[in-house]
């Protein structure tokens, strides 16, 4: 009744909307009619005067507009594998490690092919495509110009061959040829960017590729590694040598060097070079200042001094009429993260400075601000409040990536929600993520898994189980492969809202996620199933599940059965009246040198009793005696009292009863 009432309400609501839409349509038609009539009247008046006809402008479509429109009609299918894996059924990832492996192998296959094509252009000369498709043809990666000339130097620079370019430059200098300023700039840029080392060839063979992949998967760890320069800046390397040889230096040369030094960790050197620049009465450019601001916290010890250095740099920027950009402010905020308590006061004023200058903040800006207010141990109210502010500010906006750090925002925002146990805020973050193409800002698969892991953890903690399961089906495993801890969270949520009947399905998921080899997770599952008695159907499914658990774990060689896991399985089987299977599990106890509890044996005996299985009872008591359990005599006497036994059985049992009694009189007293 209630349901039907709700249906009626639903229909009314829907129809109401339909009606309203129609009415709105009518209204807009009407108003449109008016305006067109007005427009018709207007030209009539004009007609005599000029007779001008305004031809509407041709609408030009972007080449991908049609495809974008089509793509927006496709919804995500939570039951399907990611699109990249749909071609090949062999490449269907079920766990996060498989996902990593498959996507990386796909990528590396592509890179290998590209590398082969590029390094053997003579085999790929035929151009089938009409019109010509440049990206299908081999790129030239080898040097063609051999003579000593500026042209050859340019070629080496464009192919990013650092050492070859430096050699060529030296040869040119020895030959007495002057190299143009522009080429020198490019050369310095190249050397500083790659720190006087040949860069990793894109699509190059083995090691480099693996390293890049490692960075991608390691994510956050990779990020810290990215911040710490891999190759330190060497004293008097080629960049500095060439720089010192230059007859005249302009600010671009300085900028290239300073950026290179900051990028590769020579912070103090960068600042001394900046003083040289000022002594030469030159002005820096914005990139130079951005680099210096990032380096500023490295040079000072105290938080106050760090900030003073940053603000001094900013003041110099404004004196030198250098206009700041988004990256300037992001660098300031990033540097502020290392300024301790100063950050709280200065972060917001920096944000307002941005606003005053007319630069709209990116996600990285907000990420840095959140970090400034974030203190993991004692999150006061301010932290979530700031996040709330940020989210109200951002609500419904379509974001674009403007800073490589933008991709860190979502996962850190979700961490704040999780730490504050703030479900509402978590939903707000998720909503922001679902706007437009914002999902692209979630970063690589590692960042994604962090984000969804936190979100799911928050849901399990705070949300009602039905909603949790809805999300579970939505994001797992199409977007997120939960780790064992995530599955435990889910189990706890099921327990809290007493939906333990879901456990067999969850077990299937655990299996497919490859977590069935985690003993603690399996044990927790079994314990939850065995803890209470349920309705017969549920018990039936639990027993089936327990058998499945057992067979899966037996299939593995290294399984170490714990006594509690085995007794949980036995209990579950007994509750579902699967005495035979339960007996087999009891034998496993013996085989694995585990000792069953007295309680378990008693309940087994009761199960035998209810089935009238006297032989089983005798065997049980014999098994118990084989374990040398103190409870044996009790079991034996219970079996003697309760069962209809043959003479032989009776004799065997009473023997056992007496044997244990004599060996352990204390036990007898207890019984």
């Amino acid at each position: 009744m209630a349901a039907s009432g709700r249906h009626v309400g639903h229909y009314i609501q829907r129809n109401g909307r339909f009606l309203r839409v129609n009415l709105e349509g009518l209204w807009s038609n009407r108003s449109f009619g008016w305006t067109s009539a007005l427009q018709q009247q207007a030209p009539e008046v004009k007609k005599d005067a000029s007779e001008s006809i305004v031809i509407p402008r041709k609408k030009t479509w972007n080449k991908i507009a049609v495809l974008e429109a089509l793509a927006s009609t496709v919804d995500r299918d939570p039951t399907a594998y990611p699109y990249q894996f749909q071609d090949d059924p062999y490449l269907s990832p079920r766990t996060s490690s498989e996902f990593k492996l498959f996507s990386l192998s796909q990528e590396s296959g592509r890179s290998a092919a590209k590398f082969f094509v590029d390094s053997n252009p003579k085999f790929f000369t035929k151009d089938f495509a009409e019109p010509h498709i440049p990206c299908l043809m081999p790129e030239s990666v080898s040097l063609r110009l051999e003579e000593v000339s500026e042209e050859a130097l340019r070629e080496r620079i464009s192919l990013r061959k650092v050492t070859a370019a430096v050699d060529m430059y030296d040869q040119l200098l020895q030959a007495g040829t002057a190299v143009s300023m522009e080429t020198t700039h490019d050369l310095l840029d190249l050397i500083c960017l790659y720190c006087d080392r040949n860069p990793v060839q894109e699509g190059g063979p083995q090691a480099e590729e693996a390293e890049e992949a490692g960075e991608e998967t390691k994510g956050r760890r990779g990020r810290t590694r990215r911040d710490i320069p891999k190759t330190p800046w060497k004293e008097n390397n080629n960049a500095e040598r060439i720089f010192n040889l230059l007859p005249e230096r302009d600010s671009r040369c300085y900028s290239a060097l300073i950026r290179g030094m900051v990028k590769h960790g020579a912070y103090a050197k960068a600042f001394s070079l900046y003083t040289d620049l000022l002594n030469d009465r030159l002005t820096g450019d914005v990139h130079l200042f951005n680099a210096l601001i990032l380096a500023a916290p490295e040079l000072r010890e105290k938080y106050n001094e760090k900030w003073e250095l940053i603000s001094e740099l900013l003041n110099q920027m404004s004196q030198q009429k250098v206009h700041p950009d988004l990256l300037t402010f992001n660098s300031v905020l990033k540097a502020l993260r290392r300024c301790g308590y100063v950050a709280k006061t200065k972060a917001l004023s920096t944000l307002n400075e941005m606003k005053a200058v007319g630069i709209s903040p990116s996600l990285a800006t907000y990420d840095h601000i959140l970090a400034a207010f974030y203190k993991s141990a004692s999150s006061g109210p301010s932290n979530t409040e700031i996040l709330l502010e940020v989210l109200t500010e951002l609500e419904g906006t379509r974001l674009t990536c403007q800073d490589p750090d933008d991709v860190l925002f979502f996962s850190s925002a979700m961490r704040i929600c999780l730490d504050g146990k703030d479900l509402e805020l978590g939903y707000k973050v998720q909503n922001l993520l679902e706007v437009g193409d914002n999902w692209r800002l979630l970063g690589d698969s590692y960042q994604q898994s962090i984000y969804y892991g936190r979100f799911f953890n928050l849901l399990c903690m705070m949300e009602h189980i039905d909603v949790v399961l809805e999300w579970y089906r939505k994001i797992i495993p199409s977007r997120y492969y939960p780790n064992p801890q995530g599955m435990k969270d889910l189990l706890q949520a099921l327990d809290t809202d007493s939906r333990l009947d879901m456990l067999p399905t969850i077990w299937k998921d655990i299996k497919s996620l490859g977590h069935d080899n985690k003993p603690d997770l399996v044990e927790e599952l079994l314990a939850l199933m065995a803890r209470e008695e349920h309705s017969p159907e549920v018990q039936e499914s639990f027993a089936a599940c327990a058998l499945n658990v057992k067979s899966v774990c037996d299939g593995r060689l290294s399984t170490e059965w714990s006594a509690s896991a085995l007794s949980h399985i036995t209990t579950l089987l007994l509750r579902a009246n699967k005495t035979q299977e339960a007996w087999e599990v009891l034998l496993v106890f013996k085989a694995k040198n585990r000792v069953p509890s007295e309680e378990l044996l008693n309940s087994f005996l009761s199960a035998c009793h209810s089935r009238g299985d006297s032989q089983g009872a005798v065997e049980l008591v014999q098994l118990s005696a084989a374990f040398c359990l103190p409870a044996t005599s009790g079991l034996a006497s219970r079996a003697l009292a309760d069962f209809h036994l043959t003479e032989e059985q009776r004799a065997a049992l009473s023997e056992l009863e007496v044997a244990v009694e004599s060996s352990d009189p204390k036990n007898q007293q207890e019984n």
């Binding site: 793509a71 990206c135 700041p324 307002n352 400075e353 005053a356 730490d419 146990k421 805020l425």
Partner: protein, 421 residues
């Protein structure tokens, strides 16, 4: 627990509260009498209890409530009390969800001792996450609606309450009605509404009592208070979420912040805009020219590297076939939409079609007017005019080649007498 206490102390210190002399009197009768004298502006601990006795019939204070006080006055007191509780709630907004058990007050003791007992018996209950959620949901409902939904017997209270609020607002401290709304909203979500509400308010009031006690110099007694205080936790799993006092959760995530109703209300009030802080005042807004200048500059290697980095960080695999096609289009592998047959023929776009077809004019110079060569060339031109695969330039080159060829062979042709000019 220590944190809880210290916070309370802080609250107490921060807050300047109105303490009436009458409160010091040891006899509750006196309290009521003074109350009558002073009017409605006094805060009274006992008054609410008068109205909530149904749950606590056994407490000694009940016997006092049965003293010949007029019913109306009780009501007034109750509503007044709510008004004061309201004020109290300003401070203790976060504590709203904590409920205390009914304290036992002995008449024989002094008022100060009463306070201590009161606190000693205080038991902070815990609430579970679902309750919290329902509260959050309910909170959006207008407080007015909440009042309307109450039973009729509450209505008189409400009118009194409004009156009391008006009176109370004339005091040194003004009250915010949304706090009371929050209290009743919270109470409305609990099963026993009126009881829960009164419990909430009592808790607030007790807080105030503590405040006053400490204000009067009872600070040295805080140790006793702490010693006597006991925090009960329900063993029921449903109540697994401590709402207030100690918020170090089992998962060790640290001190967590409850965003209950009051927290949210406080947030609304205290709401600090991100963009209201002072700016650094270093830069002046830039002009358009800067941007244009930057855009005109040739991209350096650094710019390319930065773009590559951006692209790498956002690079996501296509989610469906269309997105893959977008990717291919951008790489130039796919025919572009909308379909255009002349794609890739950009260099020919400016050439009109007659240039392709009427090629006779190229035969005007350098070729004989008659004869087999002319005939041959006319056939060549006819063929070229039907060839869609060559550009006009290529066609001209083709004709030029023949012109050169025949010029070179001019001697031979003249001998054969076929080259006629």
């Amino acid at each position: 627990m220590n944190q809880f206490i210290s916070r309370t102390t802080i609250v107490a210190r921060n807050r300047v509260l109105y303490v009436h002399e009458s409160f010091l009197s040891s006899n509750c009768d006196n309290v009521f009498r003074t109350l009558n004298k002073v009017g409605l502006k006094t805060f009274c601990t006992n008054s609410v209890r008068l109205c909530e006795k149904k749950d606590n019939a056994g407490t000694s204070i009940d016997s006092q409530t049965k003293l010949p006080e007029q019913k109306e006055e009780q009501r007034v007191l109750k509503t007044e009390d709510r008004g004061t509780a309201d004020r109290q709630a300003d401070d203790n907004s976060k504590q709203l969800l904590a409920k205390s058990q009914q304290p036992k007050v002995d008449t024989g003791k002094s008022e100060k001792e009463n306070l201590l007992d009161l606190l000693g018996a205080m038991k902070v209950e815990v609430t579970n996450k679902r309750k919290l959620k329902t509260m959050k949901r309910q909170q959006s409902i207008e407080s007015a609606a909440q009042y309307k939904s109450k039973p009729a017997d509450m209505e008189s209270t409400i009118s009194m309450f409004q009156k009391a609020t008006e009176e109370a607002s004339s005091q040194s401290e003004t009250l915010s009605p949304d706090l009371v709304a929050a209290a009743s909203a919270a109470a409305a979500t609990l099963p026993n509404r009126s009881r829960a509400e009164s419990e909430l308010l009592r808790q607030l009031r007790e807080r105030k009592t503590l405040t006053e006690a400490q204000k009067r110099g009872d600070m040295n007694n805080i140790g006793v208070i702490i010693a006597d205080m006991k925090v009960g936790k329900n063993s029921n799993r449903q109540n697994a979420w401590p709402s207030d006092q100690i918020r170090f959760d089992e998962d060790g995530r640290g001190y967590t912040h409850d965003r209950g109703i009051t927290g949210e209300l406080a947030g609304v009030r205290k709401r600090r805009n991100l963009f209201q802080a002072k700016r650094l005042n270093i830069f002046s807004p830039g002009t358009e020219e800067d941007g244009i200048k930057a855009a005109l500059a040739k991209p350096t290697l650094w710019d390319m590297e930065f773009a590559h980095q951006l692209c790498q960080s956002t690079n996501q695999m296509p989610r469906n076939g269309f997105e893959e096609m977008i990717q291919w289009t951008e790489e130039g592998k796919l025919w572009q939409y909308p379909i255009n047959n002349e794609i890739g023929l950009e260099e020919e776009a400016s050439v009109p079609f007659h240039e392709h077809i009427f090629l006779d004019k190229h035969l005007e110079q350098g070729f004989p007017q008659h004869g087999p060569v002319r005939h041959f060339m006319e056939l060549v031109v006819a063929g070229l005019s039907r060839n869609p695969y060559l550009t006009v330039k290529q066609k001209k080159e083709h004709i030029d080649w023949f012109r050169d060829y025949f010029h070179h062979k001019e001697d031979v042709l003249n001998e054969a007498d076929v080259y006629l000019t």
